[in-house]
């Protein structure tokens, strides 16, 4: 393996990809960075070359060959139908795009490493889920629709590619929900609504990963030799109800029979992109085990799930109905009052005794 690397990043216009490119630009052992996307990236990139092309375009194959790319980082999977312009186009761009990219990589002898940004959505979401998914655990029901199905199919193709090209190290990163970026925007759009919809009688356990940690992990696997599958998530777990309280918002529980009607209403109103596969996620949630990330990649997430969420609330200025400072102030005032009363009483007792 060569030390200096030439990296191709798909979906460079994405926020995560931009940050990864910036991090890689700082490194001396990365010789060349090529970004591919249909949109022009808005980030402040210096060394990165930009190729305006769809991943499905044969141009990508020629770029890989011409620049002698040895590491391909596939980040262009879209999570929400709206970003891709409809569910069928999302599937087309996600699955067919990955297939075309893999076909191009298979032709290119220089490719030594393939990094896929996948999602914990491949584990699906069900009441029979284990407390946390390990990389090897197989869920009872694989996701049969939406983003989860897409990433499951893409992972399948990538693994098949790894079997065909044994000389290529394949790394699959299964990220928990992102907050803050555009990367996995479906969940956070719930917090754009005036009230946060939830499923009545269910409280999903959630895990988040902060962008900085995601970039840290991507940088590590892009520059180092870490084949395999890794779950990436912040420490700890939050309930949806707890998230709503942390953000100071109000929950709007919807009874199960009406959930899909409400979801399609919300989707049509265009304020949040709630898809059907997310509804199960809103019922049962999902937690992944990150032991492998810690031991094999040697990464300690800087942000826990809760810190990632609080950072999201701060940056997005999610306006709360219940202001946290207010509640804290009320409590402090009560404490002060009680303390004053206690002191008064003590002084009285002193005076009476003396």
């Amino acid at each position: 393996m060569t030390d200096a690397r030439r990296v191709l990043i798909t979906g460079i216009a994405g926020r995560l990809a931009g940050q990864l490119a910036r991090a890689l630009e700082q490194r001396d052992d990365i010789l060349e960075i090529v970004g591919v996307d249909v949109r022009e990236p808005q980030h402040d990139l210096r060394r990165t070359e930009f190729v305006r092309a769809d991943v499905r375009n044969p141009l990508v194959g020629r770029v890989i060959e011409a620049s002698a790319i040895d590491t391909v980082v596939h980040l262009s999977t879209v999570a929400t139908p709206r970003a891709a312009g409809g569910r069928s186009r999302m599937k087309e761009s996600n699955v067919i795009g990955a297939m075309q990219l893999l076909a191009a990589c298979q032709q290119a002898p220089t490719v030594e490493r393939f990094v896929l940004k996948s999602s914990a959505a491949v584990y699906g979401s069900a009441h029979t889920d284990p407390v946390s998914f390990r990389e090897r655990s197989v869920p009872d029901a694989t996701p049969r629709q939406g983003y989860g199905q897409d990433v499951a199919e893409i992972e399948g193709y990538v693994r098949a590619f790894g079997r065909r090209r044994k000389d290529v190290d394949v790394t699959i990163l299964r990220f928990a929900n992102f907050l803050g970026g555009q990367a996995d925007g479906a969940f956070q759009s719930l917090f754009n609504l005036p009230v946060v919809p939830s499923v009545l009688g269910f409280d999903p356990r959630l895990q988040f990963v902060h962008e900085d940690d995601a970039v840290q992990v991507l940088e590590r696997v892009t520059s180092g030799d870490h084949p395999g599958i890794y779950n990436v998530a912040g420490d700890g777990v939050l309930y949806l109800s707890q998230c709503i309280r942390l953000a100071g918002r109000v929950a709007a529980p919807v009874p199960l029979p009406f959930v899909s009607a409400v979801a399609s209403g919300v989707r049509r109103s265009g304020r949040a992109d709630v898809t059907m596969d997310q509804l199960r996620f809103l019922q049962f949630g999902r937690v992944v085990d990150t032991t492998r990330m810690r031991t094999r990649l040697g990464i300690e997430p800087r942000y826990s799930t809760r810190q990632a969420f609080e950072d999201f609330v701060r940056r997005r200025r999610v306006r709360g109905v219940v202001a946290r400072e207010e509640v804290v102030r009320w409590e402090r005032e009560l404490y002060d009052f009680l303390q004053r009363k206690g002191q008064d009483r003590f002084l009285h007792a002193q005076r009476d005794g003396g």
Binding site: V199, G201, V237, I244, R324, L334
Partner: protein
């Protein structure tokens, strides 16, 4: 109530009265109704009109003389207004402390159901209003002061604890573990709610607490009964109160599919009864509680009470062997009698996708007592924790040996059955 008295003395009349007093002469023509003959607290003559007697309504009340019911209650008062006022009176009365009589009158009026109740209510209202007027808001303050004097330090402590809890819940400032166990909620809210049931309703007596491991992993295995899994909740609380440890329950997958029940099960620390989750809990050194009979035990007919059902496939024994933790067989006596199940509507249960559809004895009392009849029966409970079974003698590899697992499962089952019989022999009656 002030408005009401304002009606009695209109501004014009007041001015007239003042003029009359200033000029020292009595002017006729304003009104020839007789005035009250009592004098006010300031030793001036009362200027209210007298009711039927020589006194006005206010002074009639003070002197224990009741005014006629006819004008005691304003005629335009609607029932809602009346009820609201009634509630206010009842709420205000206990704070008074000294004013026991108006409170009594208020409650008496509240229980009346015929036409005269309005009048008595009005009467009580008058009297309380008068009391308030005489003493001002002092009595509310007196009440608070009295409360303060009772045990002010403990009260302050309680208040600040409560405020802290409320603040944490409101702002989401609490931690849950990976399983979703919300310890803050469980220990500070849910357990105190269940504790009266444990102490006073079922009067749980527990024996053999010393057999529960004080630290490190352990598997509590108990019998399951009573149509609703209340025995799991009570046993859980009992273990917590005796040892200060949270026993983490393992629940069937149906539990986690059901709205509300699944949510609360997770929040109280239960998790899915699968080898994976149980292994994780036990290796983390948690105390785990399991009811291997499952729905077969919960939904068994009354005639099979205290007969242990099949113990699943012995998965819990394999888990304990893998983690090398002791198994504590536990017998719960009393839970069978809370909902005696007379019949199981199997067809309906199958149609609804639930394991059983119980017809319990209490349902026949519903026509007589209403929904109150559906409360569980207050049987006397005994929980006995038996001698722990050491699994280290078998070694962790025995978990893969079906013979050892079956033997051990039978041993646990027999132990619990014997403990059940022994405790059943020992009890005086179901309810005492």
């Amino acid at each position: 109530m002030m408005e009401q008295h304002a009606e009695v003395i209109s501004m014009a009349e007041q001015r007239a009265a003042r003029d009359a007093r200033d000029s020292g002469a009595t002017r006729d023509g304003v009104s020839d109704r007789p005035r009250c003959q009592a004098s006010t607290a300031a030793d001036r003559p009362c200027r209210n009109y007298a009711t039927d007697g020589p006194l006005c309504r206010v002074h009639a009340v003070q002197q224990g003389e009741r005014p006629t019911p006819s004008d005691a209650s304003p005629p335009d008062e609607g029932p809602v207004e009346h009820a609201r006022r009634q509630g206010r009176d009842d709420a205000a009365a206990p704070a008074g402390g000294g004013s026991g009589d108006p409170a009594g009158a208020g409650s008496r009026a509240g229980s009346g159901d015929d036409g005269s109740s309005d009048a008595t209510a009005g009467d009580a209202y008058e009297r309380i209003a008068e009391e308030v007027r005489r003493r001002g808001w002092r009595m509310a303050i007196d009440g608070l002061a009295a409360l303060d004097a009772v045990d002010s330090d403990a009260l302050a402590e309680e208040l600040s604890t409560l405020a802290g809890f409320l603040r944490r819940r409101l702002t989401g400032d609490y931690d849950i573990d990976d399983f979703g166990f919300d310890e803050d909620l469980t220990t500070n809210l849910l357990m105190p709610l269940v504790r009266p049931l444990h102490r006073h309703y079922w009067r749980v007596a527990s024996h053999g607490v010393e057999h529960l491991p004080a630290d490190g992993g352990g598997l509590v295995v108990a019998n399951h009964a009573g149509t609703l899994p209340l025995d799991a909740i009570i046993a859980r609380l009992d273990i917590f109160d005796q040892t200060g440890r949270h026993a983490r329950e393992l629940g069937a997958d149906l539990v986690f599919r059901t709205p509300f029940i699944g949510e609360w099960a997770r929040k109280t620390g239960a998790t899915l009864a699968s080898g994976n989750d149980a292994d994780r809990l036990l290796t983390a050194g948690e105390l785990v509680a399991v009811w291997p009979e499952g729905f077969k035990g919960l939904g068994k007919p009354w005639k099979d009470r205290y007969k242990l059902q099949r113990f699943g496939r012995g998965g819990f024994v394999a888990t304990a062997l893998r983690a090398q933790v002791p198994i504590v067989p536990t017998a719960i006596v009393g839970s069978e009698e809370i909902y005696p199940m007379i019949y199981d509507l199997r067809l309906l249960a199958r149609a609804l996708g639930v394991p059983y559809f119980p017809i319990v004895a209490q349902m026949f009392a519903v026509p007589v007592f209403g929904p109150l009849a559906l409360l569980p029966l207050p049987s006397k409970w005994v929980i006995e924790y038996g001698e722990p079974i050491d699994t280290t003698a078998f070694g962790p590899e025995a978990a893969d040996d079906p013979m050892t697992v079956f033997d051990l499962t039978d041993r646990v089952r027999d132990t619990i059955q014997n403990m059940l019989h022994r405790n059943l022999m020992g009890r005086r009656s179901v309810f005492l």
